[in-house]
Structure formats: structure tokens, C-alpha cells
Amino acid sequence: MSTPKVKRKFKRRYDKLPTVLLFVLPALIPLIVFWIYPICRSVYLSFTNWDFISPTYKIVGLKNYISLFRNPRFFEALGHTVVFTAGTLIPTIVLGLVLALLLVRNFHGSGILKFILFSPWITPTVAISIVWTWIYKTDGGIANTILTALGASPLKWISSSDTAMLSVIIVTVWKSLGYAMIFYLSALERVPGELYEAVALDGASKWRTFFDITLPCISPTTFFLMIITMVNSLQAYDQIQVLTQGGPSGSTRTLLYMYYQLGFQEFNMGQATAVAVVMILLTVGLSVIQFKASEKWVHY
């Protein structure tokens, strides 16, 4: 029998475990306390009828999920989440790249310009959002002043369910634009100059050069920004809370905001955590899809 051999192998594999644990624990403890345990706890709570206040609660099985999937508000929020995520992701990536392309060549004042464009990213979202509530004011807000000056009719912005989502998206894109730009700037600088020379001699136009050389060379950055922006959009809360509180009439209620309302306003923690679990699955699912798709278009 090979038992002793297996044992020895087992021993060899695990005899360093205490040492490894010693080094990993300082990082592992906060991860367990603040991340892994709460996730597990949330999943558990999603099968209960806890009301956030009572010390006791009952396990209700899949009831929370069933009522969630029967609730039109949930699908409305899911739709808003998709619109918000796509609405922030695409403009952030595209405009971030455009800004980076404009600023990649240094000119007088380009440093200051980069800093100004990046500054919203390092400013707290709550502060930004408060300023934007003034900008969006229907009477005398800068947004409407500009629209009127351009000859367009003023909008109701965050006060109307037609434009509230657009308003929140504009704030979010404006905030993350500089971040995308900084990443694209460094990616563009890393594309070897010789490639542009080779492609020029091969006869490519500017557009072809951009699509055939620049875009593929910076594709890892695009991929990274897509994942980060997507996760940020799924987790957006501050700007929605300050600007619209999910309204008017639920038009800016995303899944995360619905979670907040269910758990902390309606005290239905069981159903709130069920939404959270759906969100986790959604995030994981979207990330897996992106990673799979990236094998086709990301060139390392």
C-alpha cells in the first residue's frame, strides 16, 4: 500500500501551513470579519423574515426570493440598474479615452488641465452631488441657464422622472471621467512609437492606425476600466441618495438603492438581503462574461 507515501506527501504539502498562515492572517482576519462573514450572514438572512430590529426571526425558506421575483418594483430596479450601468460605463470609457488622446501630447497647461479633470475623482461623491443639486435647480441652476443660453428649452432634471436618471448618470460619468483618462494616458504612453512608424509606412490612415494599433495595444486598460466602472456603477449609492433618493416615483431606484429602502426604510431585512444576494450573483455573472469575452479582444 502507498499509505506512508501519501502521508509523507500530505505532510510535505502541509508542514509549512502554520508559517504560511502566520503571514497571511493579518490580511485574512479583516477580510473574514468585514467581508466573508457579512456575505455569508447576508445569504443566511435572505432566508429569514428578520425586520432589522427584533431579536428573533424565523427561517422562511425561499419566500423572500419568490415575493421578490413577483414584485414589479424589483424588475423596474433591475432595469434601472442596467440602464445606469451601461449609461455610465460607455460614456466614461469613450470620453475618458477621448480626453486622454487630446492630452497625451504635452502642451502648455496640460498638467493643470489633467489635474482639474481628475479632481472630481478624489472629491467625496456626497460633496459633488450637493453641488450638482444646485446646478440642476430648475430655476436659476447653471444647467438650465446654459440650456437657455443655447436656445434650448430648460429641463426639469432631477425633479422629473424623465430626466432624473440622465441627471444621475451625468454626475457619475463626470466624476469617473478623470480616472479613466489617467489610466488611458499611461496606457497610450506605453504604446511603442515604432509601431506607429511601422504602420505609417505600411500605409494606414489615422483612423486605421487608431483602430488597428492604438485600441488593441490599450485593450488591457479598457478591460480593467470596464470591470472597475461596472462594479462602481452597481455600487452607486451616494449620488442617488443626495440627488434623487431613488425618485421621482422610483425612476432612479437601482438594485442597491432598493436594498437600502427595503432594509433601512421598510425594515424588511430578509427581502433586502435577498436583493443583495441577487446583486452579488449579477456582479459575478457579469464579471465572468467580461473575462470570457476579454479573451477575444484583450491583447496582453
Binding site: 509601431l195 511601422a198 505609417a200 505600411d202 500605409g203 494606414a204
Partner: protein
């Protein structure tokens, strides 16, 4: 196939630095021209101006009689092989080679046929599906050449194409480039700082220094008749020995007097020295290591000294001799082993001596 003419071309950067000064060069159809010189001599800049990758500050560039100064690189019909190959990292070998044809919207079937032809001629058929990251240096080099060949351009420009390869591969690729030139029969312009590459590949060599052309000639003439001390020292390994001497006339013969002896000039050289009024003046002498010989009797001794380093290379040996006139290097095929410190007397083949003006460094005996 193209005739390329550079007329008084100058490259001046914004900070006033002149990388290329007033360079004029006639490149005939099917010539293999080498631009050679130490780093910073302007050879790469000259090549890049021909390609259109650098603006020409002053002067005219003609390709097949047409002025090209303001023509974009893609409209010059010139292919270039870069020092770091510049392969498109996200494209397969096939796509890299096919790219320029794809841009020209050539039918797929023709592209396919031409790519396979080129791949076959360069031994790349097995690698067509690979990405550049999966290739060795030599293979990348071949892909870079394939990308150039497939276009059937008017001229090939190569910017130090072998400098990233190891010595053995460099030798091998050098032969392949020579073979390619024979097969393609078109104009090649090749930049290198390696004089072996220059001497073995070129039909015409342009030696440059500090942005100026020093000499344009074929390899044989460049080696035998350098126009100045720089060219004489740059071409040939080990480099030419230089020594101080005095030009004098003794018994009707023109001689170069060195510290330890004298070299009798042949009639042609004597005439040049007399014409130039060099009799009685100080000159710089030059002799290649392979033209330094052992002095058989005391009469012919030009230099005497002690062996410093003895390098046996197999069929020949290089001996570094510390003499009164400085270090003199001898490259001899009569292999006789010397120890450090051995006394040795050297002579030279008088016909092979070069004489330079010590001030202008120009050759006075050509």
C-alpha cells in the same frame, strides 16, 4: 527599384542641434548602400528622413526623380525594417505580413498566396499562426523582413536590423540579408554601426561622423584608400595603427622617420608627398595590423618594443606591442607564441602605409 537622391540635406532640431549636415548622396537603382558610423553620427536620422519619419529641415530628397520632402511616409512606397522589429504584438505572423496588403484592399486570395510565398522564402510557414511574443529574436527579424518584402517596395530601409541578435545569429542573418538582396534585386539602404556588416553587405558604403559624410566608396576602396584618419580608423579590425613620423628626403628617396626606424615611400607616395610640400614636416603615419610584419634584420625595423598581449585566434594571432611610438598591433598568420614582455622588432609593408596631415587628418598620399 528606385533611384534615391539626397541633395544638401540637413536636419536641425528645435534646440538648434544639427543631426545631419548638408548630406548629398546618389543612390542608384539596385544598390546596397550602407550608412555606417559611430552612434550619434546622423546615419539613422538620414534613413528616417528618407522614410519620411523625420522632417527634412533643408535640402531636397528625390525618389525616382520626384521630390519627396513633403510626401507622407505611406505614399513613398518604401519599406523599413526597424531595430526592435516593431511587429504588431496583437496580430499573428500571418496578419503582420499581410497587413499592408489588407490596407490596400487587395483581394484575400491574392494576399493569402503572397503571404505564403513570402513565408516560404523566409522559412516562416510553420509560424504563421503565432504571435510575435512567441517568437525568438531571429524569427521576429524574419517576420519584420517578410512584412517589408511582401509589398514589393521601391526600396528597403533597414535600421540596425541585426543589433538585437546574438553574435552567431547575426552572422547567419547577415548571410540571409545578402541572399535576399541577390534575389530581390532592388535598392537597399542599411544603417549599422558594425563595420563588418558594412563591409560584407554593401556595394556602396557611406561613412558618417558628426552628421557629415566622410567618404562614399565601395568596400575595397574604403579599406585601401581611406580619405582621412577617421575612416582609416573606423574601417577594419583591429583598427589601424597610427604613429608620429617626420617626412624626409634621403639619398633621393622620400622616407618617413619614426622613433626607431624609417619607412621608404614608393614612387607614387613619394611624388604626392613632394607635391604637397611635406618634406621636412611632421606627419601622422598609419598602418593596418595585417601589414605589420616581423623585422628579419635590424635594417628594416620601424618599431621595436615588448609584447604586451598575445591573442591566438587559431589561424592567426594578434600581438599588441608596446613600442616607443605607442601601442602597435600586429595581425599575423605566422603563428609563433610570444610571452608577455618578449622583445620584438617590427617592420611594415611600405606600400601599405597611409600618411595623414596631422592637423586636418586628411590623407595626403591618395
Amino acid at each position: 527599384m528606385a533611384e534615391i537622391i539626397l541633395k544638401n540635406i540637413t536636419k536641425e532640431y528645435e534646440n538648434g542641434f544639427q543631426a545631419v549636415k548638408n548630406v548629398s548622396l546618389d543612390i542608384k537603382d539596385n544598390e546596397f548602400v550602407i550608412l555606417v558610423g559611430p552612434s550619434g553620427c546622423g546615419k539613422s536620422t538620414t534613413l528616417r528622413m528618407i522614410a519620411g519619419l523625420e522632417d527634412i529641415s533643408d535640402g531636397d530628397l528625390f525618389i525616382d526623380g520626384e521630390r519627396m520632402n513633403d510626401v507622407a511616409p505611406q505614399h513613398r512606397d518604401i519599406a523599413m525594417v526597424f531595430q526592435n522589429y516593431a511587429l504588431y504584438p496583437h496580430m499573428s505572423v500571418y496578419q503582420n505580413i499581410a497587413y499592408s496588403l489588407k490596407i490596400k484592399k487587395i483581394p484575400k486570395s491574392e494576399i493569402d498566396q503572397r503571404v505564403h510565398e513570402v513565408a516560404k522564402s523566409l522559412g516562416l510557414e510553420e509560424l504563421l499562426d503565432r504571435k510575435p511574443g512567441q517568437l525568438s529574436g531571429g524569427q521576429k527579424q524574419r517576420v519584420a523582413m517578410g512584412r517589408a518584402i511582401i509589398r514589393h517596395p521601391k526600396a528597403f530601409l533597414m535600421d540596425e536590423p541585426l543589433s538585437n541578435l546574438d553574435a552567431k545569429l547575426r552572422g547567419q542573418m547577415r548571410v540571409e540579408i545578402a541572399d535576399l538582396y541577390q534575389r530581390l534585386n532592388t535598392t537597399f539602404i542599411y544603417v549599422t554601426h558594425d563595420q563588418t556588416e558594412a563591409m560584407t553587405l554593401g556595394t556602396k558604403i557611406v561613412v558618417m561622423k558628426d552628421g557629415e559624410i566622410q567618404q562614399i566608396d565601395n568596400p575595397t576602396n574604403l579599406f585601401s584608400y581611406p580619405v582621412n584618419k577617421f575612416v582609416a580608423g573606423f574601417i577594419g579590425t583591429p583598427t589601424m595603427n597610427f604613429f608620429e613620423a617626420e617626412c624626409a628626403e634621403e639619398n633621393g628617396l622620400v622616407v618617413l622617420k619614426t622613433v626607431a626606424g624609417r619607412i621608404v615611400m614608393n614612387d607614387a607616395k613619394a611624388a604626392k608627398l613632394r607635391e604637397g610640400g611635406w618634406i621636412g614636416k611632421k606627419v601622422t603615419g598609419g598602418i593596418r595590423p595585417e601589414h605589420v610584419i616581423l623585422s628579419q634584420d635590424g635594417e628594416n625595423t620601424v618599431f621595436s618594443g615588448k609584447v604586451n598581449v598575445f591573442e591566438l585566434l587559431g589561424s592567426n594571432a594578434i600581438i599588441y606591442v608596446e613600442t616607443e611610438a605607442g601601442m602597435i598591433v600586429m595581425n599575423t598568420s605566422q603563428v609563433q607564441v610570444y610571452e608577455h614582455g618578449d622583445k620584438i622588432a617590427l617592420s611594415v609593408i611600405a606600400d601599405k602605409v597611409h600618411v595623414f596631415d596631422p592637423e586636418t587628418e586628411r590623407t595626403v598620399t591618395n
